[in-house]
């Protein structure tokens, strides 16, 4: 019966030669990422990734955070659009549930390739849990979220919309809590003043709404591009509502970024100030000013404001720039927090900044995550396309 029902959502006409080619390319990225990741377990991560004793976290952790945060935003916006109403995002929600699921799985794949012994995690996370560990809660809650969202999506396919909404609420609660613990992983480490403090978890939640709204706009637009179809009014209104959320959130993230940076220059420890300086004029300054601030915040705000949130192409471009900015912002945050040596000022042989640049292998694994999201998005359009067009039912 299930397969019968599933077939009803197929949209074989999506599978044009062009989308097939794209699907293949994303698939290859994914396979390459998995291949390198698996090779890493045999060769040893330390031989293919550029992480060190002093900078144990890098591109793969930040890519995971990017995906997890995006997934949270998608899941929350989808749930909110149905639970509270009063906005026009609901028609996008079924696709957002699928996107939330695949971005979270992409994140887990990437972090799975980063952790040294994921197989030990499967055992000891269960029989030797540490309730004070943010990492434990984050993993457990995001794991639960995957379960809820899979069930939710299944129920949407089965047209059990009421029950799906209940699962959607559970999923959203798990994702909020997980996202908050992800912020807590960094926010509760006083040894890294750049991360430490109460702002980060709520900042991550803000980034979740930003990335989630951006992903909803971008992928809804792409879904229409691959069908060479103009958006109908309901979808357009949904995208426009998401773009308004995006504009609001970008402004808030800009405010948070400004004050976070300012706070390091009015006092506090040298380590925090040096880390902030790494972004402003140090080794991460190009990342910060060009990609995180100019492309990731200023340009999309201006684009959305100038076009008065009416032009689909402009909204889609703003969403793409936002996602690039968010990806780089996660990277900047993870790296900047570790660049100042722990014994700074106590050892004259230490550099002002430690050196970390992601290796080619790290990029391949990170791109593998992006490949999986692209692949699963296109396959989703091919196999569940009709569900995504199911206006207002969730």
């Amino acid at each position: 019966m299930a397969s019968f029902s599933l077939a009803a959502f197929n949209e074989p006409e999506v599978a044009t030669p062009g989308t097939n080619l794209l699907t293949g390319l994303f698939g290859m990225l994914f396979v390459a990422g998995i291949g390198v990741g698996l090779y890493g377990f045999i060769a040893g991560h330390e031989h293919i990734y550029n992480n060190t004793r002093e900078v144990p976290w890098g591109l793969l952790i930040s890519t995971y955070a990017f995906f997890a945060i995006t997934s949270t935003g998608l899941c929350l916006l989808a749930a909110i659009s149905h639970v509270f109403g009063g906005n026009k995002i609901a028609p996008l929600a079924n696709r957002m549930v699928w996107l939330s699921l695949i971005t979270l799985i992409s994140g887990f794949i990437v972090i799975g390739m980063e952790i040294e012994n994921p197989w030990r995690m499967a055992i000891w996370n269960v029989i030797s849990p540490n309730p004070t560990s943010n990492i434990w809660w984050m993993g457990t809650l995001y794991g639960m979220a995957i379960g809820f969202v899979v069930l939710e999506f299944w129920l949407i396919l089965m047209r059990q919309f009421k029950l799906a909404l209940v699962l959607g609420i559970f999923g959203a609660l798990a994702e909020i809590a997980a996202n908050s613990c992800l912020g807590g992983v960094f926010a509760t480490l006083p040894s890294h003043p750049f991360w430490y403090g109460g702002q980060l978890p709520v900042f991550f939640l803000g980034c979740a709404f930003t990335s989630g709204a951006a992903a909803a706009i971008l992928f809804t637009h792409f879904a229409h591009v691959i069908r060479r179809k103009k958006m109908d009014e309901t979808m357009y209104n949904g995208v426009q509502a998401a773009a308004k959320v995006l504009l609001l959130m970008l402004i808030l993230i800009g405010v948070a970024t400004w004050w976070k940076m300012v706070s390091f220059f009015v006092g506090g420890t040298d380590a925090g100030r040096l880390a902030a300086q790494a972004l402003i004029s140090g080794p991460l300054s190009t990342n910060f000013w060009v990609l995180e601030v100019a492309i990731g915040l200023v340009a999309p705000i201006l684009l959305l404001a100038v076009t008065r949130v009416r032009n689909v192409a402009a909204m889609s471009a703003a969403a793409l720039m936002t996602l690039i900015g968010m990806f780089i912002a996660r990277m900047d945050m993870v790296i900047a927090g570790q660049l100042v040596p722990q014994y700074a000022g106590m050892d004259s042989s230490l550099p002002t900044y430690l050196n970390y640049m992601p290796s080619g292998y790290e990029w391949i694994v990170a791109l593998g995550g992006i490949g999986l999201t692209g692949l699963a998005f296109l396959l989703g359009e091919r196999f569940f396309g009709k569900t995504f067009a199911d206006h207002g039912n969730h």
Binding site: P56, M121, V185, M346, S348
Partner: protein
């Protein structure tokens, strides 16, 4: 003047004191109380409760809940960077070439115009009383031993998420490729202490007696006496992280 003679003198009464003397006396009194009061008001805290910046009590731990409560005191200015402690540690604990459990930092202290003094500072795991690494470990692979307070590893549980490495304020942890787990100093617990030896390999190897190891809960121990010596300044590294380390530093 003899106190007995003073008693015999007749009271002159205050009305006979010149006003200039009364004023001087009052001024002195006000100045003395003012210094204390003013100081208290300015610091917004009770003078009695305030703590010196570099005191053992305010930075390190003041209670010693473990028995034995293992601790190490570094008499920093004795260190000559001979690195015998590092060699002994590597040999005793099979530390691979790409990692270390203990190392020596080198710094220059400015002692005058164009004058510097070279300072060597041995570092290792601080076996903190509030260990950030233990709090963050998802699987309790790293834990604080209930008896000795030593921060230990249970390698088989380590998933290699490296959160403990990120959390440690002392760069005391590295990933060991052979065990696929984080490795760190455990005060030679498995290699020496559990076999009846009373100190660690680095302590035994040090020719300058820089490192003193012992039980802080024992008031007769050398470590206890050193960190409580009235005439010495004792400090810990990175007290701002609130980890309450059990490795103390002083100059001999």
């Amino acid at each position: 003047m003899n106190i007995n003679e003073l008693e015999k003198l007749q009271n002159e009464g205050i009305d006979k004191l010149p006003s200039i003397e009364r004023r001087t006396f009052l001024k002195a009194g006000l100045a003395i109380t003012g210094v204390f009061m003013g100081g208290t008001v300015l610091s917004l805290t009770l003078a009695g409760k305030s703590q010196a910046k570099v005191s053992t009590e305010s930075n390190g731990t003041s209670s010693f809940p473990y028995s034995p409560h293992y601790s190490m005191v570094m008499r920093q200015n004795r260190c000559i960077d001979c690195e015998r402690c590092k060699e002994a540690c590597v040999k005793t604990n099979h530390v691979p070439s790409y990692g270390y459990r203990t190392t020596i930092l080198e710094n220059y202290k400015i002692t005058g115009p164009e004058e510097t003094e070279r300072i060597f500072m041995p570092v290792l795991c601080n076996h903190c009383n509030r260990p950030p690494c233990v709090r963050v470990c998802p699987t309790k692979a790293t834990y604080k031993d209930k008896k000795t307070g030593i921060v230990m590893m249970d390698s088989k549980k380590c998933i290699g998420c490296k959160t403990c490495m990120a959390a440690c304020p002392y760069n005391a942890r590295y990933f060991n490729e052979e065990t696929r787990a984080i490795d760190k100093c455990n005060f030679c617990f498995d290699t020496r202490l559990s076999k009846g030896k009373k100190d660690t390999a680095c302590v035994e190897a040090c020719p300058a007696d820089v490192r003193i190891f012992g039980d802080l809960s024992d008031t007769d121990s050398e470590v206890y006496k050193l960190i409580h010596a009235a005439d010495k300044i004792v400090w810990v590294l990175r007290p701002e992280t609130g980890a309450l380390p059990n490795v103390y530093y002083m100059n001999d």
